[in-house]
Symmetry: C2
Subunit: 298 residues, 2 copies
DNA sequence: AGCGTGTGATACGCAATGGATATGATCCGC
DNA sequence: GCGGATCATATCCATTGCGTATCACACGCT
């Protein structure tokens, strides 16, 4: 059975007349008759009842007609969808991100991409940098937002924005009264931190800043994720240095203060496979670039 | 585009290897390559990425693969369904019936048919005899249960059962105390009745029985359907003569009593188009016959 | 009643096309 | 660097889908 049989059958079933159906198909009548007969033989049932004068649908034909129309519509849709997918208008993309990427900028990228490609499903995965690199290499992820200097041979990356370091401290902490806090003022404070491998890029900059200010931070408590860090700050366990712009972690009992000198910054990079060809991924990267570019102009 | 293209594409997409896919299709490799290329040209997008060494799905190919599998499964199902429809295992049937057909016997027929042909949708239409005859002639109905002597040239009919006439009267009516009531005892009672054209077969027998008992019934109130007739009886407006076995109309405030002499009976017939060929209709008639036959033996 | 017209089926020839074989181009592993 | 693996290309052949001519038959008109 071929789609041709279905096309021919639908024409005959709609016209109930072999001659007219053949004309509609730009075909002569005898081959049409033969194709219908072949179809009936293959199906194993008579679909059309034809005496010499008129053609009518048998019950089997009525059942087949409904299915045939569906199949033909579906086959056109299949081609159309493949074409759209090839243009990146349709599909899915798996995006990894570190928690500290959940800034307004990242939200703007996702919002803008959804506007540009409403039929692409974006799947988000909160993952540590090394997980993301593994995921990108193996194909589980298509794009990653992370802070490591990515030197993996299969991957490429670009800096999308830079975050300054800010101090997170309980609202009732004495230093919270100041508009800005110097690094030396926090030298002897108890710190909350995530483990090294969670954010190696950030940690390197953080420890270097401390060293420059003449102290080694005392980590009072480790927590495995940023929300927990902020929660521990909020309940007074200690203070923490984090990246700026973490809108998603804002809460009343915690205040964020710029640090002086404000020099130390950490890069947020977007990474993807070097051999990437998916137009969806290309479009996502393009939206990422243009969105952060526009944000920088404001 | 033909189903062949889809079959070939699915094979290649599953094997990710032209040689193996060709073997699976009992085909040599070059024509397979050509058909895939043709498919890609028609769709307008590259579906497979092949360097000389390996084959992999492009995003467009992944989208197309899902659709292609659906279409192929569907096309097999289409043929299977047509075959089943030709055997009367699948389909629909439009059944008309007069209200007084809603007896246990009719319920048993419907129940038995559903058991025998669970995938046939039975659509029921409560209609007057003339409506049914028009419906059968025009094809809106396939089968009708009615009481007219059906002499329409295009239709055939068979008696399925005979109903005796019974008296419906309010539970507190004096005659309700008797186990049976004679025709002469109701000569001067006020009657409730449906209009003549609603049930001409029944009315003829009813008036003839009254005439034999020596009276012409006084119709106090007409109602357009049997449930209303029974309701009017229940509230004491009058009494009514109806057919026996109307289980669906039983209610506490109305009692049914046999009439003496019990001679007068009305036929319930099943009618269908003389040229009917639908195996579903044939099966329905066969179930009807066997069900009433078995009921008669009990 | 007979003939003409309309309609689907049949017969048959041709040409388009799907498939086979042979070969080429290129990549990868040893 | 060579040999094998793999997909593409070239070319030929056979299948088969299509067109023309014709048939068979039913219905309607005169």
């Amino acid at each position: 059975m071929e789609l041709r049989h279905l096309r021919y059958f639908v024409a005959v079933a709609e016209e109930l007349h072999f001659g007219r159906a053949a004309a509609r198909l730009h075909l002569s009548q005898p081959p049409l008759s033969r194709q219908i007969r072949e179809l009936e033989e293959e199906v194993g049932a008579q679909l059309l009842k034809r005496d010499r004068r008129r053609v009518e649908l048998m019950p089997a034909g009525a059942a087949f007609l409904a299915e045939a129309r569906e199949i033909l519509a579906r086959s056109e849709r299949a081609a159309a969808r493949a074409l759209r997918a090839s243009r990146g208008e349709l599909g899915e993309i798996d995006v990894g991100f570190v928690t500290s990427a959940t800034t307004d900028a990242f939200a703007a990228i996702l919002r803008e991409f959804h506007r540009a490609r409403p039929d692409v499903e974006v799947r988000l995965y909160d993952q540590m940098p090394q997980q993301q690199i593994d995921g990108l290499s193996s194909g589980r992820l298509d794009v990653g937002f992370l802070r490591l200097p990515v030197d993996h041979g299969l991957l490429r990356s670009e800096v999308v924005w830079r975050d300054s370091l800010v101090l997170a401290l309980p609202a009732e902490h004495p230093l919270a009264k100041q508009q800005r806090v110097s690094w030396t003022e926090i030298a002897s404070e108890p710190f909350i931190s995530v483990p090294w491998q969670q954010s190696p890029g950030f940690q390197t900059v953080f420890y270097e800043a401390c060293r420059a200010a003449g102290f080694v931070p005392h980590i009072k408590q480790y927590a495995n994720d940023l929300p927990t860090v902020i929660w521990l700050v909020s309940v007074g366990t200690g203070i923490a240095v984090v990246t700026g712009g973490l809108a998603s972690l804002a809460r009343p009992s915690v205040v964020f203060r710029p640090l002086e000198p404000s020099g130390p910054q950490v890069d947020m990079v977007v990474a993807w496979r070097r051999d990437e060809t998916s137009p969806v991924v290309e479009a996502f990267l393009e939206v990422t670039r243009s969105t952060v570019r526009e944000a920088a102009l404001e």
